[in-house]
């Protein structure tokens, strides 16, 4: 029983990370219709930047926000340098562009930082707490809390603020949004900045538990994808639920089946969702406009 509880705890921890990545995806997808294959790189940028700063003696409470800002800047740069110039390009070109950007960022990280695996101490120390027979790291609470905060923030921002509603309007119909005076260019910039910031924040929070290195971005992106698809593409609630579920499935696979294949569970979920229920758990049926 305590074993199961332990798996639940670790599943929810990594699941919260995947949920944050999935929320970032959803934000960009909803605003621009682009599936951003470089989303996982933001997580790495956050983690690597924070690790480098903390390693250089910068206190965590300064390093963490700086790492998030670094991710945000890269997100905006990605939009301006690679996505915006190709806005009228067909879908396949956009896919190739974001994949290219992801590989490029991976290489840039290897050049700027190094090829080592990094971690730093948890924000509230690394002494595990005991909860009913299972142990939980204080950092896990940071991660889970962070993801819930991101979800709440997005819900508030997109529905209650002017800028957020601008993003929603741009997503629903760019032309119509521009006609009623919404600055759609700014809305796009903002959605890339926010999405990258969310990814970087996930990286900053997760690194003490999961570690990071220059090449984990693709894996992170893929986990985020499977979370998004399981939850239903385009639905923020789906992203949250899908992320937590993927985390749990992964932890159970590692615990009861084989830790060698814990990463495989996310891919199997993708394939199963595509076979059985392409719209995901919370998504509307997929219909494409012609």
């Amino acid at each position: 029983m305590s074993e199961l509880l332990q798996f639940l705890v670790s599943g929810l921890t990594v699941g919260a990370i995947y949920a944050a990545i999935a929320l970032g995806f959803t934000l960009i997808y909803n605003a621009s219709g682009v599936v951003n294959f470089a989303q996982g790189e933001f997580v790495v940028i956050g983690g690597m930047t924070a690790a480098a700063l903390i390693g250089a003696g910068v206190p965590v409470w300064i390093a963490a926000p700086l790492a998030v800002v670094a991710g945000m800047l890269v997100g905006v740069a990605l939009y301006r340098a690679a996505i915006r110039p190709a806005r009228e390009a067909p879908l396949v070109s956009l896919i190739i562009i974001t994949i290219g950007a992801s590989i490029f960022l991976r290489g840039a990280m290897q050049a700027v930082f190094d090829k080592q695996i990094h971690r730093y101490d948890g924000f509230s120390g690394d002494a595990p707490l005991r909860v009913g027979g299972a142990t939980i790291l204080p950092q896990s609470l940071w991660i889970i809390g962070g993801s819930i905060a991101v979800f709440a923030f997005l819900a508030w921002f997109l529905n209650r603020t002017r800028a957020g509603r601008g993003i929603k309007a741009t997503a629903s119909n760019r032309m119509a949004a521009a006609l009623v005076g919404i600055n759609t260019g700014r809305a796009m910039n903002l959605s890339f900045a926010l999405s990258a910031a969310i990814g970087a924040l996930a990286g900053v929070l997760a690194t003490p538990v999961t570690f990071t290195s220059y090449d984990v971005g693709v894996l992170m992106a893929l986990k985020g994808f499977s979370a998004t698809m399981l939850g239903g593409v385009g639905s923020p609630l789906g992203a949250l639920a899908g992320g937590l579920l993927i985390g749990l499935i992964e932890a159970m696979t590692a615990g009861y089946i084989s830790s060698d294949y814990k990463d495989a569970s996310a891919f199997v979920v993708i394939l199963l969702v595509l076979f059985l229920r392409p719209q995901g758990l919370f998504g509307a049926r997929i219909t494409e406009r012609v």
Binding site: V35, P90, I95, I103, D260, D263, F267, L271, L274
Partner: protein
């Protein structure tokens, strides 16, 4: 021979995409486009053999032709239909590992190759069908996952595959093929000719495919799913066929690499290898087999010439993908062909 296509150059409906193929050759109606492609490739293979000074060059040359073959599969999928696969290295590796593993169970190399190719094609068929009914993004994501799954199995199941260290491939040597007809070649040279022949044949088949009715259906889908459907094309089925064909190309290339190198590692099935294949196609021009050749040539030869390439491999590959897509979306070969045509007219 592969080149006996039914279309000839007299066919007037040859627009844009393939126009550069027939530069100045419109007055030679006897040779079909497939056969002509085969002959051009054969001449290039021969040219390579004429100028190569050492076995090292033959080995790099072999790699170029094998990559060309694999990328020709990407051309069919990406160039003809407009679908991205991020897991083609998985199919490549299935071909390679089947060729490596099965001979130790008493199956001769040629049959092992065939089995590997069959497995890759079968897997593509099973996985492709349901996914290809959905929008283009889903194939990229699903193949990304599938490729990683295959890579994972290859690196974890050490009892079968030797694990991350890879495995030695024993079996057929191309030298023996040439011995049959009384030619004595070094094995690097022998594999070069075999790989060149395979690439030429593959290119000819792909060119003929583009001009066949089902190839036209594919290109119609590339322009618009809906328009193609309204013309009576079974879109999901045509896409699935292209996906299977391209998986077969990758698997054949993988099998050849396994035999020619005599050694394989799970990295042949890794994500970066998939990205490399797509980059080659995108750089050279995914709409033509000559694009596949040019892309494969540049990205295979470059790392041999530039040693710094290894340190910045990711940045170079990623940069090429982004810049090509923004600045010359159709790739080098069509881009240069356009410049050439414009200058002439």
């Amino acid at each position: 021979m592969a080149g006996q296509g039914t279309t000839t150059d007299a066919a007037p409906a040859d627009t844009g995409r393939h126009a550069y193929l027939k530069n100045g050759e419109a007055r030679r109606p006897r040779i079909g486009p497939g056969l002509r492609t085969f002959l051009i490739f054969a001449v290039l293979v021969g040219l390579g053999a004429l100028i190569f000074p050492s076995s090292y060059f033959y080995r790099v040359g072999t790699l170029v032709w094998i990559n060309t073959l694999a990328v020709t599969g990407i051309v069919v999928l990406l160039g003809y239909v407009g679908l991205v696969s991020l897991g083609h290295a998985g199919f490549f590796a299935i071909g390679a590992y089947a060729t490596a593993i099965l001979p130790s169970y008493g199956i001769p190399s040629p049959l092992a190759m065939l089995a590997g190719v069959g497995m890759a094609g079968g897997l593509a068929l099973i996985v492709g069908r349901p996914i290809l009914k959905l929008s283009g993004y889903y194939l990229a994501i699903a193949t990304l996952g599938l490729g990683m799954l295959i890579w994972m199995v290859l690196s974890k199941e050490a009892w079968l595959t030797g694990g991350p260290d890879g495995m030695v491939v024993s079996g057929m040597n191309a030298r023996n093929l040439f011995k049959l007809v009384g030619l004595k070649l070094k094995s690097a040279e022998a594999w070069y000719w075999v790989a060149g022949f395979a690439a030429a044949t593959g290119a000819a088949i792909a060119v003929n495919l583009a001009r066949s009715p089902s190839g036209r259906a594919l290109r119609a889908i590339h322009d618009s799913d809906v328009a193609a459907r309204s013309l009576g094309v079974d879109v999901a089925r045509a896409k699935s066929r292209a996906f299977v064909i391209s998986a077969i190309y990758a698997a054949v290339a993988g099998a050849l690499l396994a035999l020619a190198n005599g050694y394989i590692t799970p990295e042949t099935g890794g994500f970066m290898h998939s990205v490399e294949m797509v980059t080659m196609a995108v750089l050279g021009g995914a709409t033509s087999v000559f694009g596949a050749l040019v892309g494969a040539l540049i990205l295979t030869a470059l790392p041999q010439v530039l040693t710094v390439f290894a340190d910045y491999e990711h940045m170079v590959l990623g940069g090429i993908m982004v810049v090509t897509m923004i600045a010359m979306r159709r790739g080098l070969v069509p881009f240069i062909a356009d410049l050439w045509n414009r200058r002439k007219s």
